[in-house]
Structure formats: structure tokens, C-alpha cells
């Protein structure tokens, strides 16, 4: 069977031709008895940076693996770039997986060359693309190095360059900055923003709230395979109408946390060691009562901007960092 070459295989920019880069409706997928996707419906606008935000087990990676054809949904509809999934469609998609996916015995250029051949790029076009992309992600000088010798940040940049080799219209990113140091994260995001500026849609699966807030134009909050909320981060937070207070305690605050949960105007109380995060309707009356009742047990207080973590907590009743039952492998 012949597969048509990816449109724009050597183009660097293109205009989106479909209003939705990804559209899924009533998607169901199970790992044994557990429903990893439980009737999920959402649409990812073309050209957007779209975040799937949720804890492990919320269905993010499962959705991505369905979009590249690695898993078949039990029921529901999937359209990618305006068409049902097919081998032809996969030529228009790039993906950076959550776990490392490089052969340690291959060099950087061999890794790119294999990808070019798998996507049917002609040798000269593949070489030119490889050279341009390695330059772009600052790996041109390491072209002959074995991937095993690269740092974590370099490996991620190589995986990104490989994912961009077929000039994909849709780039799937499964927690791409996981385990990277802050500098490497920043550099990777510079490249991702550049890819988005070229017109590519970025669909990002993450449980990093700060990253989603900073980079995503639209965020879908997922819980146990269901869509909980979707919108621009600032809109989701505005709807919450809460303030977030971070309290540092001198000793274990378990009793105080229980006590505060009963106060009027207090939303959600989260414990993290000697720190408590509390969402409240209004910070001033809450703080007055806090100091009155807990006295010198409080070591410090900070009023923080509301985050998507607070939104998620309000909607789901637990944080994004807490597991949502990830049995079955993919999250």
C-alpha cells in the first residue's frame, strides 16, 4: 500500500485548513474494567496551544495514543485535521512521548534519518530538514554523537526535532518537560512556541499547572476520563471567584486544617507538610479569624493568585498532583 506524502513536508509554515485540529466525541476506552476515557468530548482549535490538564490516570496519555492510532477507542468518534484517523493522517502528526524514546546506540543524525525514511521524505529533503532542525534546536554540533551521550535536555530537544521532521500540522506533547531542569524547560518551550508560531497546533498533556497556565491558550481539565471544564485559564480562574492563601505552620497543622474546613467562606483546604493551601471567598476576614484562633502557631502567610490547581480542586474535590487511579498503565 502506498501512502501519500505529508502535505507541506518541506514547508516551514502553513495556514490551518480546518477549524478543529482534533475533535473527539463520546470517546470510551477501557483498561480492563477501568474506564480510562469515559465519554470524553472536546475540540482543539487549529493553531492553538491546547492543554489537557489532569492527574495521572485522568486519560490524557490515552487520548494522545488514540490520536496516533496506537489504541482503538471502544466507542466514539475521532477526527484529526478534519478527517477520520488513518495512516495518511498520521503523516501529518508529530509526537513527543512522555518517556524517553531514543535508541542509545544510534547517533543524532541516524535518529533523524530513520524518522525521515519512515515518513517517506526523499533523502535530499530529509537531510536538509534534519540539518535545519538540528541547527534550530542547537544540536547540529552533536549530529555524530550517540544519543546515549546527550544530556536530558538535549534528548528532549532531539525528540522534538524528530517530531517536527515531517512538518506536522498537529504536534502532540505528552508531558514533554517532565524531569527537565528549569533552563532546559525554558529552551524547549522557546522551540515549542516557535513551532506554534509557524501555524502548528500544539496539544499538550500535562499535570504541571504552572506550565499550562503560562503557555496554553485553552485548557481542558480532565478527571477519570471525563471533561470537567474547558476554557481559557484566566476565564476558568475568574469563574472560581476565590482567593488562595498559603499558610506556613510551626508544627503539623492537621488539627487546624480540620478546624478551618468548618469556617464560613472557606473552600478547599490542602495539606502539604507544614504548609496549608486554603481557597477562601475573601482573604481579609479569613486571615483575621486565622490569627485570632491559631495565634503563634502560624509562621507565615501569603495571599497567592488563584491557580488552575484551585479550579481543579473546586470542581473535582482533589488536586492534580494526587493520583486518580492510574492502574492499567497509561495516564
Amino acid at each position: 500500500m502506498k501512502i501519500a506524502a505529508a502535505p507541506g513536508a518541506t514547508d516551514r509554515t502553513f495556514a490551518p485548513t480546518h477549524p478543529a485540529a482534533v475533535e473527539v466525541r463520546d470517546l470510551v476506552y477501557r483498561y480492563g474494567e477501568r474506564r480510562a476515557l469515559d465519554g470524553l468530548s472536546l475540540a482543539v482549535p487549529s493553531g492553538a496551544i491546547f492543554g489537557l490538564l489532569g492527574p495521572n490516570g485522568s486519560g490524557k496519555s490515552t487520548l494522545l495514543s488514540i490520536l496516533i492510532g496506537r489504541r482503538a477507542a471502544e466507542s466514539g468518534e475521532v477526527a484529526v485535521l478534519g478527517e477520520p484517523l488513518s495512516n495518511h493522517q498520521r503523516a501529518r502528526i508529530g509526537i513527543v512521548f512522555q518517556e524517553p524514546s531514543l535508541d542509545p546506540q544510534m547517533t543524532v543524525s541516524e535518529t533523524m534519518d530513520l524518522q525521515a525514511r519512515m515518513f517517506g521524505l526523499r533523502r535530499d529533503a530529509g537531510s536538509a530538514q534534519t540539518h535545519a532542525l538540528l541547527e534550530r534546536v542547537d544540536l547540529a554540533e552533536r549530529a555524530d554523537a550517540l544519543t546515549a551521550t546527550l544530556s536530558g535536555g538535549m534528548k528532549r530537544r532531539l525528540e522534538l526535532a524528530r517530531a517536527l521532521l515531517n512538518s506536522p500540522e498537529l504536534l502532540l506533547l505528552d508531558e514533554p518537560t517532565l524531569a527537565l531542569d528549569p533552563d532546559s524547560r525554558l529552551r524547549l518551550w522557546e522551540h515549542l512556541l516557535e513551532a506554534n508560531a509557524e501555524g502548528r497546533t500544539l496539544l499538550l498533556a500535562t499535570n504541571d499547572v504552572a506550565e499550562a497556565e503560562r503557555y496554553c491558550q485553552t485548557v481542558a481539565l480532565l478527571d477519570e476520563g471525563r471533561l470537567v471544564a474547558q476554557g481559557r485559564p484566566e476565564d476558568l480562574k475568574r469563574d472560581l471567584r476565590h482567593e488562595s492563601v498559603r499558610i506556613e505552620w510551626a508544627e503539623d497543622p492537621a488539627d487546624e486544617a480540620v478546624m478551618m474546613e468548618g469556617w464560613p467562606g472557606v473552600g478547599h483546604v490542602r495539606l502539604a507538610g507544614h504548609t496549608t493551601h486554603v481557597t477562601v471567598d475573601a482573604a481579609s476576614p479569613f486571615l483575621a479569624r486565622l490569627f485570632q484562633q491559631t495565634g503563634d502557631r502560624v509562621r507565615g502567610v501569603r495571599i497567592e493568585a488563584t491557580t488552575l490547581e484551585d479550579v481543579y480542586f473546586q470542581l473535582v474535590g482533589r488536586g492534580i498532583a494526587s493520583p486518580g487511579g492510574a492502574e492499567g498503565g497509561a495516564s
Binding site: M1, R70, H88, S101, D103, P104, R117, R162
Partner: protein, 259 residues
Amino acid sequence: MSQATAIVALMKRDLRAFLRSRSQLYSSVLFPLMLLAILGTGVSDGLDPKHIRDYVTFLTPGMIAMTAVFSSTFSSASYYQDRDSGVLKVLLASPHSPRVVLLGKTLSAVIIGAVQALLVLAVAAAIPAIHFQWQYGVGWSLLAAVFAIVVLNLFLSGLGQLLASKIRTMQGFHLVMNLVLFPFLFFSGAFFPLTDLPVWLKVLGRLNPLSYGVDMMHLALYANGGGGYFGLPMDLGVLTALAVAVFYFGTSRSVSPDR
């Protein structure tokens, strides 16, 4: 983008990895030759088998078959390396079916196994103590031996893929392959002729796909007249049919992203 391009690219990748692994390259050829020298000489001089003329030469086709067995097994295990390194899911995310990916990998295993077995054959042919008979003439005998080697590797690589679809870990794969392949090897006529064995072992020998490959190589290299244990037409027919079927089913298996 053609499937052939992808298959060739995958084959080249595995062949390059094999060539880079010098220890694998050398040991896979040296081990059968060492065994040939030690076992062949030991049995010839120590046990002095009465029924086998020129035991070292008799053993050579068996060692060639053994090379194919272990090489194909080892190469098939690269599936697990690709799965564990995450490369497999990248390949499966390409616009090709899993069958194309498996074909590329399995064909490289066939090539690696066949080349190693042919190397052993070439070195053995140059050793003065080994006296190949070439009973069909050098050209036809060599062709028969090469055919047996290639088809044997097709069968073994396909078998490796079939087992890999059922076994989750590489350790388990090697364990099961050894469990399957050592009896295959012992009752194939590689180390001793099937002729004088008890009936139940003869039956096992007949059910053993490797027996037909070894018999064909014995006919090509060792026999000096005579039709072999099964005979050339039977060797050709059974080996080819089995190899094609096992290779087809091995490369058509489903590939789960989770195992």
C-alpha cells in the same frame, strides 16, 4: 512514501547496530567454530563413533544450524530493546502499519542470522580437517546449503516474533527460546544421526522443523551418495512451507503498545 523504503530503513538500522556490536559479531562465529574443534575432535578421538564417517565434517552442518538458531533468536530479541527504549512506539506512530515495522525488524534478523551461518560455512570450508563432499557438485551443493540456511533463518526469525507476541519480558523470551530451541537442536541430527535413535526420539526428530534444515545441509555438504534421512524433496518442501507460514504469522502478529 513506500513501505519498502521504511522496511529497508529499519533493516539498515538493525544491521548497523549488529555491526557495531563487535563482541556479538565475533562470538557468534567463533563459538560454533570452537565447539566444532573441541566437540568434533573430542568425539572423534575420545569416543571414536563407529557409525559416523568423519565426525568433524558430520558436525559442521549442525554447527551452522546452531549459529542460525542463536543468531536469529538474539536478533529477534531486539524487539524488546526497541520496546523498552521507547523506539517501538515512535516507529508505530509513523504512517505505517505494525506489520511493516515487524517486517523490517524480522528481515534484518534473517539477514544477520544467514550471514553469520554463511561465515561459519565459509570458514569451515577452508579448514583442512573438514572434508565437504559437495555431492551435487560444488555449485548446486552450495546453493542447497545457502537455501537451507536462509529458509531456516526465515523460520527461526518468524518463530521469534510469534514467541515475542506471547512473552512480556526479554528474560522470559530467552528462557522460552532456549527451552524450545535446545531440544530442537538436539533432536535435529545436528550432533548425532537420527537413524539409530529409539522410535520415540525418531518421532520427535520427524516433528522437528530443524531436522529438515540439518538434513538438507548434510546432503549438500557431508553425504557422499545416499538420499539423507528425509530426502532432498521432503527437506525442501517441509522447510519452505513451515518457514513461509511461520514467517507470515510471525510478522502479522498484533503489536500492543503495552507489551
